[in-house]
Subunit: 391 residues, 2 copies
């Protein structure tokens, strides 16, 4: 079969707030081939990604993403690798490419799984999928009291691991950060994995990050995530050598394999966090998972959107038993919840399981999404080159 | 004064060919502030960059570029640094950002130079601008005979340095590559710097690149540029240690400081090539030039478009006497020529000079550009959020 159509759906909450919550809008991708339908999601600016898909060619290395996708054969894994390589080759000077490719690649794996009646992780070569321990991923409260209550709620909901990030953390005083950290630990109490995400708050300042290490040690933070901007290799490396130390996690900003490889090799990370919706899809994420294994670094998914994105982000490391943490968003906006009919929910032991149904094992709830559609029209030289397709 | 308006103009040749010639379209940026006008150019997909400027916010780290630019103060260098930092902070999850910021940043420096009646390089802290030796930058011919003729013409035009790249090179057989290399050297004869640009043809294959080292040595190639994809640190490093060796050049694909820093530190480069129209503008390019100096790596501009882009790309290393090579495109399409009224042309000794006039020292030829304007309209939720402004 061949790729017959690729449709992008820009969905949004009626109001998007100026907070670090990536579930406020979404860019869904629907691919059709041979009577099958696959779905993917880009963790990306919807309008910008759509533009990169349909834009006119600038030169041989700056072609629209569309150029290397529509009409291509889709009968095997090799066909997906071919699309992935061809897109990145033909659009290497189009910066938005990797984000746009991500949702397409995810949808291609979903289709291939449906064609072969296998979950994606099996197509990737894993014999079985191991359960993952979801960490309740949420924003810090505006106040330490709010952080405490959020922590308590997460624990009461049965989560054995909790992560706080963004919000006021790292942006105010050291005193304020310590208050939030203490509140988080007091809220979840002992015996719960507690991860802290600085949301790149310190840019490249190792000093600012160093100041937080003693309090992070005190609350037994399991990791410190994104102290610096993505690819700040030197700052990461230096911080990783600090004493007392906290294990470092990072990589969500990587948008291709070589960036993730640089983070694995040069940043002193213990955890590499990959968003399949940004790095080029499941294809590239799996390459990173393989590299992480060889380098004894734990692979963790980065997911802060729908359960379609969650399933996609779990597939690349589904079969790696020792890498058992999974980011699990617990503050999704209604849009992100409404994207899927079924959800990936923790079992009675608190673990989640990669779907065993064909493809991603997720059913998109087309009907309930209609109210979120953002109508977009792009005209070039008087000709409409993109109009929001019918859901 | 404050930034009053930022206008993007998408310009294009009537026909864009599937060749590695980046001068076939252009994205010009006009910024107005305090009665002054500055111009910049993004080396980027025009439609995609425009979309990233006007798109709705997705979340706090995925804001449209516009959010951090319009209305901002513009009275000093620090104000430009502030815009640069703010854009990258507010749009860190919007992949296209750096390409879009580049043209804006360049225009801001142009304005500031006009305000203080100084060329940009002086505002950057350089006391004087040293002459640069332009290398005639062109594509390989389709046949070795064509490459030979191009080489001969470049020499006859007075160029003391010539670069060939892209075209068939690296994409066919080793035999074909050797024929092109030999033709290039025979065309320019001895005593001329001859650089070779593989255009990332070998992706990450050190073996394929290694095979070309003996013939590159034989023709006394001054450097081998972009054997691999941008940021293929390990492959670059390995090739840099090969014997016989050829000096490696790379970096044009870097779209921010940390990527360039990684290339400088980990790729074994002798030359770092930066396009101010991609890396975030003059601000970031100057930071890379400073870092290259500390690391004893030669900074070279990457420029394959207009003389507005050429002036912008020269400013960041204008005052570094020892870094005297400058990429100089010699096969510009009429659009790229028509963008500027004045040009940067080699003197009788074959050297070019950074303009001494205020700002970038380049006058945009507004009248002659009207025929190249690509009319674009973007509508979101029925409301026009971008329409090509009047030139």
């Amino acid at each position: 079969m061949n790729i017959e159509s690729v449709d992008f759906f820009y969905l949004s909450m009626p109001e998007v707030l100026n907070i670090g919550d990536g579930s406020q809008d979404a860019l869904l991708v629907r691919v059709r081939a041979g009577g099958l339908e696959g779905w993917g999601e880009c963790e990306a600016s919807p309008l910008t990604s759509i533009a990169s898909y349909v834009c006119p060619m600038s030169h041989s290395a700056c072609k629209p993403v569309k150029y290397s996708v529509e009409g291509m054969p889709l009968n095997s894994k090799e066909d997906i690798y071919n699309v992935s390589n061809t897109v990145r080759h033909n659009s290497s000077d189009l910066l938005q490419t990797d984000h746009t490719l991500s949702g397409i690649d995810i949808a291609l794996w979903d289709i291939l799984g449906k064609k072969f009646n296998e979950p994606v992780y099996k197509l990737l070569g894993y014999k079985k999928a191991y359960p993952k321990l979801p960490y309740a991923s949420q924003l810090f409260g505006d106040t330490p009291e709010e952080t405490f209550l959020k922590a308590k709620t997460a624990k009461q909901s049965g989560f054995k691991a909790v992560k706080f990030g963004w919000g006021p953390f790292g942006k105010q005083t050291l005193h304020s950060d310590i208050a939030h950290l203490t509140a988080a630990r007091e809220g979840v109490e002992d015996g719960i994995y507690l991860m802290i995400d600085a949301g790149a708050a310190w840019s490249n300042s190792v000093t600012a990050a160093n100041d937080r290490l003693p309090p992070l040690c005190k609350i037994k933070a399991y990791w410190l995530e994104e102290p610096f901007a993505n690819m700040e290799l030197g700052s990461y490396k230096k911080l990783s050598e600090s004493v007392p130390g906290v294990a470092l996690a990072g990589g969500e900003g990587c948008h291709n394999f070589v960036q993730a490889a640089a983070m694995i090799k040069h940043a002193g990370l213990k955890f590499i966090q990959i968003d399949a919706g940004r790095i080029g899809g499941i294809t590239v994420a799996k390459q990173v998972a393989d590299l992480a294994q060889v380098n004894n670094i734990t692979y963790v998914n980065h997911t802060f959107t729908s359960h379609l994105a969650l399933s996609a982000s779990l597939q690349p490391f589904a079969g790696i038993e020792k890498d058992f943490f999974s980011e699990y968003p617990v503050e999704l906006k209604s849009l992100a919840k409404d994207i899927t009919q079924n959800k990936i929910v923790p079992d009675s032991d608190g673990y989640i399981h990669v779907p065993e149904q064909p493809g991603l094992g997720i059913t998109v709830d087309v009907q309930s999404l209609k109210k979120y559609v953002v109508d977009v029209e792009i005209k070039v030289r008087g000709k409409i080159i993109y109009h929001s397709p019918k859901l």
